[in-house]
Symmetry: C2
Subunit: 306 residues, 2 copies
């Protein structure tokens, strides 16, 4: 079982309007809703790849209830909270294709709710093959939260991937997670360097055992205890990048628990990310594109230079 | 018991953002939610005035569940439907105070659901002192729906107020409702006349027994079988007009079931509408303002000229 943690889950709502004009009234022509939050996205991709997944984090209120009803194919171990799960609203302007995003703040987590989560997490980690810690921290959760969650996983000898940003990432990295997967902005914020090769090395010195950095449409670079690699798709992929980072996490973790070596993990991650960018539905991956690309990812590097 | 009918209820959601900029991402600073739809607003005011109220219409999905949980002080006789109750979203730009409105379309009502409603409505009307039919028709409900509901109430000798617009109003008026309360746009659309005195008379000829037309901040004019009146607040009231029309309906109906004559009904309606415009919370009425204004409404007209 792979455990994904999403402390700040959301109900992602999408509205389509003919054209968005501030200070007027709009008739929404289409409405879509689905569970959101990085850890839930990772779980969806892992499930599609045939893995058994348990999701945890917090859920509350009517929106939390909708999210839980819509979770299919995963084991729901979300911890109930008194506040209401946030919504994120994407308003798509059909005339321009542009999106306006409105994100609710999320519920305040009480100390008692945080303690309840830590207990559930400790029990779940004991039965997990790998853990993904994903996304931002909701109000009320201590900023050093991910460091504690990383240490719990490491104490149980369970590989742990951390995907967050800012101070939560900085503190989490110090607890020596097995993998971090920052994008270039997150990596630069962590290390102060905008040069990816140098920054990945620096992030390892700060504590991350392996660093897989996204180069956007050019693929990934990885600095690991087993070596350094670069993985690239056969051509630049155009489309909607929503969810591509979560597909990278799912690719890395699924191949890790299957015992695959780093080049295979990176190839899978790049193929899944590209198949997500190419999908017609934001955040989903196109299986045909994935299978077609998987054998065509170029992985270069060497297994001793790390 | 007063029965209010809201065929197209909503969950009214309000977001405050620092400034709305299309095609960017916003952090929503405040979120409010409450049951919405004209008939539910009328019910809230009637309850605050001490009347026993039953609400009916349709509710479905997670949003319908939230609306039902939030209905307090009224008897809930909403008919369950398979589609989800719509949301309306008001995005308030804190920098300008302007509001951008995004309205979901609402669920499609099936013929079986409409039949189920007609049965419930027939039973409720039999025990009602008055009926308010409020708002737009959801998809699937026949455009002549209000005419049928008016006839059912009239057959049971229960006074019926109709507050809708467009073709639904035109067809409903022909069934001879006791009261309609159009605003100036609705009245002009119904009669083709922009001259309120003439248009109210014309609306009576089309079938409405009494017509109470809103003149906005200048109050109301009424053409009834008992006479014609004009009711005005002591001064123009400034504020947010949201819900003022629903307060007019509540004022008219509450005074009607209490056996008050037309001038009293109109004074109450104008005072409630003004207290709604002046309230800090959109759609609520300020009780202190209401009680202070009630004795200061000027009602002019005569009881024989109708």
């Amino acid at each position: 079982m792979i455990l994904t943690v999403t402390l700040n889950i959301a109900l992602d709502v999408t509205y389509r309007v003919p054209a968005l004009r501030p200070h007027t009234t709009h008739r929404v022509t289409d409405v879509w809703e689905r569970p959101g939050g990085k850890g839930l996205n990772v779980a969806r991709v892992l499930t599609a790849l045939g893995h058994e997944v348990t999701v945890t984090g917090f859920a509350g209120g009517a929106t939390g209830r909708i999210v839980r009803e819509r979770l299919t194919g995963v084991t729901d171990a979300l911890v109930p909270v008194s506040g209401a799960t946030r919504r994120t609203l994407a308003v798509v302007d059909a005339s321009s294709g542009d999106t306006t995003q409105l994100n609710e703040p999320g519920p305040l987590i009480t100390p008692a709710e945080w303690s309840a989560f830590l207990k559930v997490y400790g029990e779940l980690v004991a039965g997990a093959d790998a853990v993904a810690l994903c996304g931002s921290l909701p109000p009320g959760v201590p900023v050093g939260a991910y460091a504690g969650l990383v240490r719990t996983a490491r104490a149980a000898d369970v590989p742990v991937l951390l995907d967050t940003s800012g101070e939560a990432l900085r503190r989490g990295v110090a607890a020596r997670p097995d993998v971090i997967k920052p994008n270039s902005d997150e990596l630069a914020e962590l290390t102060g360097s905008h040069e990816p090769l140098r920054a990945t090395q620096d992030a390892r010195r700060r504590g991350a055992q392996s660093v897989v950095a996204s180069l956007g449409p050019e693929g990934l670079i990885a600095a690991t205890p087993e070596g350094r690699w670069r993985a690239a798709p056969p051509a630049r992929i155009h489309g909607n990048p929503t969810g591509a980072g979560d597909s990278v996490s799912a690719g890395l973790l699924s191949a890790l628990v299957e015992g695959r070596p780093w080049p295979d993990r990176l190839a899978r991650a790049v193929a899944l990310a590209a198949a997500t960018v190419r999908s017609e539905v934001a955040g989903e991956f196109d299986r045909t594109v994935y299978e077609e690309l998987l054998g065509r990812i170029t992985v270069t590097g060497d297994a001793t230079a790390a």
